[in-house]
């Protein structure tokens, strides 16, 4: 069991930007929109043009979650199952057509593009990692955030989990509801906030995916009364508990 304090959260999805809107969604969850992106007005125009929908959504949640003084101070973990795979697929289409690749599009297709863009936008020179773990991506992102707290206990870690719908040909291979969303959590050892305990539990795979993305199941749990939450359907469960 590992103790950690959730100092703040923020989330963004099309039509749902405010904390109040999310509290409403947590009480009565409804299917999320597939398409849509925030204006992300905090980004300078040149940088904003370089941000695709996923970067805008994740950076919006990240900036909303941090006070101005924290933006450059926190370590960051960006978690996404699909990340920028849509951009990679587009580049592969160009390759298949024997067309030259755009250097800017290539360099923004890496899985850590959101992390890099955030570091530039927030002038953040701290450690940053980018995680992918199939259907366990949120739980493993949380775990990677705890790894950063282990390496530097006195510095907060901003975990940002986000997705946009996968391109249709590839989405057809997966049993997943298309959704655009991001959740940002500011985690620390102690301080003001909600103290939580995290643990890993072994389990038999049950193949039963939760109705909502894990990150948003976590948000619903934060707003509910149950003392414990278990996420994951595979060989491992991510267990959260209020302390």
């Amino acid at each position: 069991m590992i103790a950690v304090t959730l100092q703040r959260w923020s989330a963004w999805a099309p039509g749902r930007a405010s904390a109040e809107a999310w509290r409403g969604w947590c009480a009565e969850p409804a299917p999320l929109e597939g398409e849509g992106e925030p204006a992300a007005r905090f980004l300078p125009p040149l940088l904003r043009r370089r941000c695709g929908p996923l970067a805008r959504i994740m950076l919006q949640a990240a900036f909303d979650c941090c006070a101005a003084g924290e933006l450059a101070r926190v370590r960051t973990v960006f978690a996404s199952r699909h990340g920028n795979i849509n951009q990679s697929i587009e580049l592969l289409e160009h390759l298949a057509a024997r067309e030259p690749l755009s250097p800017a599009r290539f360099s923004h297709s890496v899985h850590n593009a959101q992390a890099g863009l955030f570091s530039i936008a927030a002038a953040n020179r701290q450690a940053s990692s980018s995680v992918a773990a199939m259907e366990d991506t949120f739980g493993c992102g949380f775990l990677e955030a705890l790894c950063h707290l282990e390496r530097e206990p006195d510095r907060g870690v901003l975990l940002v989990m986000g997705e946009v719908p996968l391109a249709p040909t590839f989405a057809a291979l997966l049993d997943e509801r298309p959704a655009s969303y991001a959740l940002a959590l500011l985690l620390a050892r102690g301080g003001e906030g909600t103290p939580l305990a995290f643990d890993l539990e072994a389990a038999e795979p049950n193949g039963a995916p939760a109705p909502w993305p894990d990150a948003l199941e976590f948000l619903r749990w934060l707003h509910a009364r149950e003392p414990r939450l278990r996420l994951g359907s595979g060989a491992r469960r991510f267990a959260f508990q209020r302390l």
Partner: protein, 412 residues
């Protein structure tokens, strides 16, 4: 045998002792060969004879690449949704480790063994084939599964192959991915969530990265010639290096991790090199070592104009007297997401092969033409030796993502 402390002047006041992270065993496959035994003599010889020229990766261009040649092990049928070249390279590295991992699963339990792998390509090379197939026929190739392409599949393949149920994820931070995977393995051990972690990285040559780096005009048409006045860019490569990291003292330890972001540009390093410098300083502080304790530095050393200038200047600022240094990328190519793990593996070999209080060093394979614009680092020549001590390796990636590791110890 305590090679670990020789020559190292410690800063005892800095922080409490690290939880141990022993890099107990290594699986390795690169253009230099398969496994530590085949790799070591070729690494020391600066052997570039296995690099090859491929004309099929970038239209109208021949590229020198560090390719793993010869057949790769077949992905078991039960794991065919993960069948791709990237995972076959992982399997080639892992096979020799399987008995040791099976033993750990018996003693610690399958939930206590984790997997953290780095990759910047995952199975995108096989996805190229699937997409070409779709262009021609209207449907993706039937052998294609999304698990081959998605980053998370790289770590999950290893976990399912080995029957592990501990934490399992992929880190993809471009060229620092492999170094980061080792850093996270150490943290998972220190947090008590794992008793052992299968940690390393794999990347595979493919059209996407060769054409992408080509479009950025970072690829040389000759073999990479890092830090030379004549350098023209990088040579791409592929490979896999996977460690078995355990919570034991002794042997070779991951002692220091230093991390930073440039906050500058998506595909070019910050010319002032503050990120590179702070990663090296961070790794030294984390290991509790003074700069003069480092016996050998494995450079990121890509051979691009900007990387080498920024890195050499940062090294000269961190080290009043820089240690013998080399880039091993001219021997195996720049394996991008795997590079940090491959170079940690080469550092591991240097420590493991220590004899009589001295280290044999991989040579800096270049034309020897110093760039007058760069600080004068002591590049290791063939046959170079150094008094035994901790060694450092740098990894600097796209997105300005930097990670420096310090390894320490010697033959168990």
């Amino acid at each position: 045998m305590t090679l670990a402390l020789s020559g190292a002047r410690r800063r005892s006041e800095e922080r409490p002792p690290q939880a141990p992270c022993r890099l107990a065993a290594l699986g390795l496959v690169t253009a230099l060969g398969r496994g530590p035994e085949e790799t070591w003599p070729r690494l020391l010889a600066g052997d570039q004879s296995r690099l090859r020229v491929r004309g099929d990766l970038v239209p109208g261009k021949s590229l020198v690449v560090g390719e793993v040649t010869g057949p790769l092990p077949a992905i078991p049928q039960r794991l065919r949704r993960f069948a791709c070249r990237n995972n076959a390279l992982t399997l080639a590295a892992l096979e020799p480790l399987e008995p040791a991992i099976a033993e750990l699963v018996r003693s610690a339990g399958r939930t206590r063994v984790g997997v953290v792998l780095g990759s910047s390509t995952s199975g995108v090379g096989d996805a190229e084939v699937a997409i070409r197939h779709r262009r021609e026929t209207g449907a993706l190739a039937t052998a294609f599964h999304y698990e081959q392409l998605e980053f998370g599949g790289a770590a999950r393949f290893a976990a399912e192959l080995l029957g592990l149920a501990g934490p399992c994820y992929t880190l993809s931070t471009a060229c620092s991915s492999g170094a980061r995977a080792l850093a996270s393995a150490r943290s998972l051990l220190a947090l008590g969530l794992c008793d052992a972690v299968v940690a390393g990285a794999t990347d595979s040559l493919c059209g996407l990265t060769t054409n992408g780096f080509g479009a950025l005009q970072l690829v040389s048409d000759e073999v990479a010639n890092p830090c030379s006045a004549n350098r023209k860019g990088l040579t791409l490569g592929e490979g896999s290096a996977i460690f078995l990291a355990t919570r034991e003292a002794g042997g070779i330890q991951l002692r220091g991790v230093g991390e930073s972001s440039d906050a500058h540009h998506m595909s070019a390093p910050d010319p002032d090199g503050r990120g590179a410098e702070s990663a090296m300083r961070g790794a030294l502080a984390d290991a509790g070592l003074a700069p003069e304790a480092i016996a050998y530095l494995n450079l990121h050393g890509t051979g691009t104009a900007l990387n080498d200038a920024v890195e050499c200047a940062a090294v000269a600022r961190v080290f009043p007297a820089p240690p013998p240094s080399s880039s091993t990328k001219p021997l195996v190519g720049h394996a991008l997401g795997a590079a940090g793990a491959l170079e940690a593996a080469f550092c591991w070999l240097v420590l493991r092969e220590a004899r009589g209080g001295s280290l044999e060093l991989p040579p800096h394979a270049w034309d020897g033409r110093r760039d007058p614009a760069l600080p004068d680092l002591p590049f290791a020549a063939k046959g170079a030796r150094a008094p035994a001590g901790p060694v450092m390796t740098n990894s600097f990636g796209f997105g300005g993502n930097n990670c420096t590791l310090v390894l320490e110890g010697g033959p168990a």
